[in-house]
């Protein structure tokens, strides 16, 4: 001990000697020597926490990402034109089934021709006919982007050709639709204005007249039948009934595939052996397809009156743009109903965030009051309250949520009163508030036990402070940091629980018009991970980002409010 002091003394003496002499000056007689006031400002508890938080780069980045996601959730539903179409026509949000499962389209990737995230899809297994149908498309947009690979293989002695093609999922070709007369005149006006009325580039395309063609084709087949009968050949695949079937199936095929504007024939695998559901494109002498456009003399027929409405055949992409005032381009693709996933994900993120924050807030308040009473008063009150929380926390909220969902959904009065969206929100609130506050209550109780016996509380009590003052003015502010952290860390837990429960379908979102990230995941997995992976990709990304960022942010807050870390990183 003695020795240590000695060494210290000699060290400091040497230090003093090392100070250059010009720094010393003689004390003047009228000079007062006293301690100088601190030039720096004192650092309060909150300010210190802020400073420590600002040093934690990961937390700052996490906070920024959360803010960006929140902005996305707020701004997109405000500016997206799809959020502002007629709401009586689309009660569950704008949708267009013709664009169902449209792939994600990023204009930047399209412009740079990167080959991914540009609304195109590469698929194998196209045959000659599929390729020709895509090539012969008569709409304004080319569905076939690229022929990547041609595979020829011999199957059962016949050479089969398969193609690997890149197909634009937005070039869905022409569709026959019925419009009102006003709409038709508007469409004509619009086309005339643009100078595309009845031209190749017009929205309206010539109507097809496949009924006439199929009547002719039936006659042709019947002739073939007679021919075969004359030659004494009888096949089961060419009879009066099969001809009827062929024509019926072809009618359906024409009706379903509205981009086909040329003559199809039944595939004749061996002479007089006609297939009922496999067709070939018929060609003329110049190897061109033979059109079946409806003709009125030399003119194409573009419109036909049909039960008070007008049937037109339109390039659907352009018609959509004309009809709705915006282009059908979907940044994150479309779901099975043809709804924009970019918009829906924004709404879902907003719902999940709001639910997480709202429930955390309620849990925080309930837990705070409960824990404060239990911790401050202690004794019998504490004992009873602890047993209550014990029992409550033993029942999993999953079970409560299931019971709520069944009970509320089956209750017709409740449904009439708050609607099915209200039922979903109520179920979540009951299930998550039910046991969610127990954690906060426990933390608060511990903090109160820690602080209530301290001298400053005793001092205040001696000065006549009442219980509320002691609780809210003296004890609670000290516990604020810990409690804030625990409630921030509660948010990702609730978001995660909500998304997994709605993903599992325990809470059913389908008819409510509400969207959450979990319900989008549910939709995505129903649409098939194999067929439509993009529907799961974007919601998964958002939920992962939310979870990571909230956890990082919460951990940063915890470190910031932990005063024992003060100065440890300097």
């Amino acid at each position: 001990m003695e020795k240590e002091v000695m060494t210290f003394n000699t060290d400091s003496a040497m230090d003093i000697k090392a100070i250059p002499s010009e720094l010393f000056h003689k004390k003047k007689d009228n000079e007062n020597l006293h301690d100088q006031a601190f030039e720096t400002k004192p650092v309060s508890y909150l300010k210190g926490a802020m400073m420590r938080f600002a040093k934690n780069k990961a937390s700052i980045i996490a906070a920024i990402i959360i803010a960006l996601l929140a902005l996305y959730a707020i701004i997109v539903p405000l500016v997206s034109p799809m959020a502002h179409v007629n709401s009586t026509e689309y009660p569950n949000g704008f949708s267009d089934p013709f664009f169902r499962y449209a792939l994600p389209y990023n204009p930047v990737n399209k412009a740079m021709n990167l080959g991914w995230w540009d609304g195109t899809d590469v698929k194998t297994g196209y045959n000659n006919m599929d390729l020709e149908i895509l090539e012969l498309d008569d709409s304004n947009y080319e569905p076939l982007v690229e022929n990547i690979d041609t595979v020829k293989e011999t199957v059962a002695g016949r050479i089969q050709t398969h193609y690997k093609l890149r197909v634009d999922s937005y070039a869905i070709g022409c569709r026959e639709i019925n419009v009102t007369k006003e709409e038709y005149s508007k469409l004509v006006e619009y086309e005339k204005e643009k100078g595309i009325y009845h031209t190749d580039k017009g929205i309206m395309k010539p109507l097809r007249d496949y009924t006439t063609y199929l009547q002719n084709y039936r006659a042709e087949l019947t002739e073939k039948l007679h021919e075969a009968e004359d030659q004494g050949i009888t096949t089961t695949s060419l009879t009066e009934t099969t001809i009827g079937n062929i024509i019926d199936y072809m009618t359906i095929y024409y009706n379903q595939n509205q981009r086909i504007w040329y003559q199809l024939g039944s595939r004749e695998s061996t002479p007089y052996n006609f297939s009922q559901n496999s067709y070939v494109i018929r060609h003329d002498a110049n190897n061109k397809p033979i059109s079946i456009y409806a003709m009125d003399g030399d003119e194409y027929v573009y419109a036909q009156e049909n039960y008070g409405k007008i049937t037109v055949r339109v390039d659907y992409y352009d018609y959509f743009t004309f009809h709705n005032g915006f282009e059908p381009r979907y940044f994150f693709g479309c779901n099975s109903a043809g709804q924009d996933l970019f918009l829906r994900l924004a709404q879902g993120t907003g719902f999940s965030l709001l639910l997480g924050i709202g429930i955390s807030l309620i849990n925080f308040i309930i837990g705070l009051i409960w824990g404060a009473i239990s911790g401050y008063y202690g004794g019998t009150a504490d004992l009873i309250m602890e047993r209550v929380t014990d029992i409550i926390s033993c029942i999993p909220s999953l079970i409560i949520l299931s019971i709520c969902a069944i009970q509320f959904t089956g209750n017709a009065d409740l449904r009439a009163a708050i609607g099915s969206s209200g039922i979903i929100i109520l179920s979540f609130f009951v299930a998550f508030v039910y046991s969610g506050w127990v954690g906060t209550a426990g933390t608060t109780r511990m903090q109160f036990y820690r602080f209530k016996g301290q001298e400053y509380v005793l001092a205040s009590r001696t000065l006549g402070a009442k219980d509320p003052r002691l609780i809210f003015r003296h004890i609670l502010p000290n516990a604020a940091g810990t409690l804030t952290t625990s409630s921030v860390l509660m948010i990702p837990g609730i978001i995660f629980a909500e998304s997994s429960l709605s993903f599992l379908g325990i809470v059913n979102f389908t008819t409510s018009g509400l969207v959450s990230v979990g319900s989008l995941l549910n939709e995505g997995s129903a649409a098939g991970l194999k067929e439509n992976p993009f529907m799961l990709l974007f919601p998964s990304l958002v939920i992962s980002l939310l979870m990571i960022c909230f956890n990082l942010f919460g951990n940063g807050l915890r470190d910031a409010f932990n005063t024992t870390l003060r100065g440890s990183e300097d």
Binding site: D390, I391, C394, I395, P396, L398, I399, I400, S402, I403, A405, I406, Q407, G410, N411, P492, F496, S499, S500, F503, L504, G505, I506, L521, S525, L529, K530, P533, L536, S540, I543, S544, M547, I548, N551, L552
Partner: protein
């Protein structure tokens, strides 16, 4: 006699391991002079076993276990009561998805849950009994030895008992989770040890970030990624679990089909074990007794394995036990994604088809597993580390 024993120990110690003569501080709670971990394993086991039953604290422990079990039964009964009331007030839907509503009503009457009222014109009306009377009848059925005290499944499997249905769904869940534990415990512990030994090196930092990400990202996201890549894009493994009616749960074909769900469950589990092990081990590695172990001549590896790792296992072992118990409850999400025919799937099915008796039975099973898990974890703490006296007074 105890003195003699101790003396013998010291002699033994000196003959076998002559280089270790220093006092052992790590076992400061006992007044023995020999490192427990330096004895031969069998002897250690024998001594431990004998000591365990001679010890007064063992009696305390048994008392504590008894108390906890009693409390558990009480808690379980309270929860059961709450769930019973909540489930029984749900509206029955005999009209939707039920094979034969008449049979349903008859069995409900037999169980004392409905009252049959015969009208003047001979038709019968069925009225739900008050909850309290239903409860009374339930207790009566329970003790009178009826075949199906817990009711019947009316939708999932017509008129079979919920316990049988649950039993038939247990095997896939348990098998899958055992594989998960077999894979994730060794990898997780090894990773945690590696990180603790390389603390504050670059690889520790990288692993820390990775583990933080893995723990934060929800397990269903991995499940999607793994299923998509391995199952659909590369097609190396079956994307969905095989049906248990086609192949036996114990067959290699079934194992092959549940590799993907096992993989997706392992990620989170490994990350959890690694993080926990790292935290515990770094704390133990800085303890004073580690310094002593090194001072008396143990190499770093010896000291780490014999002293640090064993001590760090104290909180990790109960965690593993808890997980072992909870394997019975399974994972709802992973089972749903990979179509595993397990307990989680049954639970979802019972909710979606409104099969209340099955729902109630599976719920109570979940709760029981949860309660048992906490008790086993608490008790195992005091068995793994005798210094921890659970339930001891102040």
């Amino acid at each position: 006699m105890e003195q003699k024993q101790k003396k013998k120990d010291i002699e033994l110690e000196e003959t076998e391991l002559p280089e270790k003569k220093s006092l052992d501080v790590s076992n400061a709670h006992s007044d023995e002079l020999v490192l427990e971990s330096d004895r031969p394993f069998l002897e250690r086991f024998k001594r431990g076993f004998v000591n365990f039953w001679r010890n007064k604290s063992t009696i305390d422990l048994l008392k504590y276990i008894g108390k906890r079990l009693l409390l558990m039964v009480f808690t379980f009964l309270v929860i059961f009561l709450i769930c019973f009331v909540l489930v029984r007030i749900l509206p029955d839907r005999p009209d939707s998805g039920m094979k034969d509503p008449a049979v349903f009503f008859e069995s409900m009457v037999a169980q004392g849950r409905y009252l049959k009222i015969i009208n003047e014109d001979g038709t019968a009306d069925y009225v739900k009994m008050p909850i309290l009377m239903q409860l009374g009848n339930f207790i009566k059925n329970l003790f009178s030895g009826t075949d199906h005290p817990f009711g019947y499944s009316y939708k999932i499997e017509w008129l079979s008992s919920p316990a049988d249905i649950l039993g038939s769904h247990l095997a896939p869940t348990v098998i899958m989770n055992i594989y998960v534990m077999l894979v994730s415990v060794p990898i997780g512990l090894a990773l945690g040890i590696y990180m603790a030994l390389r603390k504050n090196h670059w690889d520790d930092h990288v692993l820390n970030v990775v583990i933080m990400l893995v723990i934060s990202v929800p397990s269903f996201v991995y499940a999607f990624v793994i299923q998509y890549l391995f199952g659909y894009v590369w097609q190396v493994l079956p994307p969905l679990a095989a049906s248990t009616s086609d192949v036996s749960v114990f067959s290699p074909a079934y194992l092959r089909s549940i590799i993907l769900p096992i993989m997706s469950m392992c990620f989170g589990s490994i990350a959890g074990y690694a993080r926990y092990t790292r935290a515990e081990l770094t704390e133990v590695l800085t303890s004073d007794f580690m310094l002593l172990a090194r001072t008396k001549g143990l190499s770093r590896a010896q000291a780490t394995v014999r002293h640090a790792f064993r001590n760090s296992l104290v909180p990790i072992f109960p965690m593993m036990l808890g997980e072992l118990i909870s394997i019975l409850s399974g994972s709802l999400i992973i089972e749903a994604i990979f179509n595993v025919n397990g307990v989680g799937g049954l639970y979802l099915q019972s909710i979606n088809s409104l099969d209340y008796d099955v729902f109630q039975f599976v719920s109570m099973f979940y709760i029981l597993i949860g309660l048992l898990g906490t008790i086993v974890v608490d008790i195992s703490y005091s068995i793994v580390d005798p210094r921890i006296r659970m339930g001891g007074g102040k």
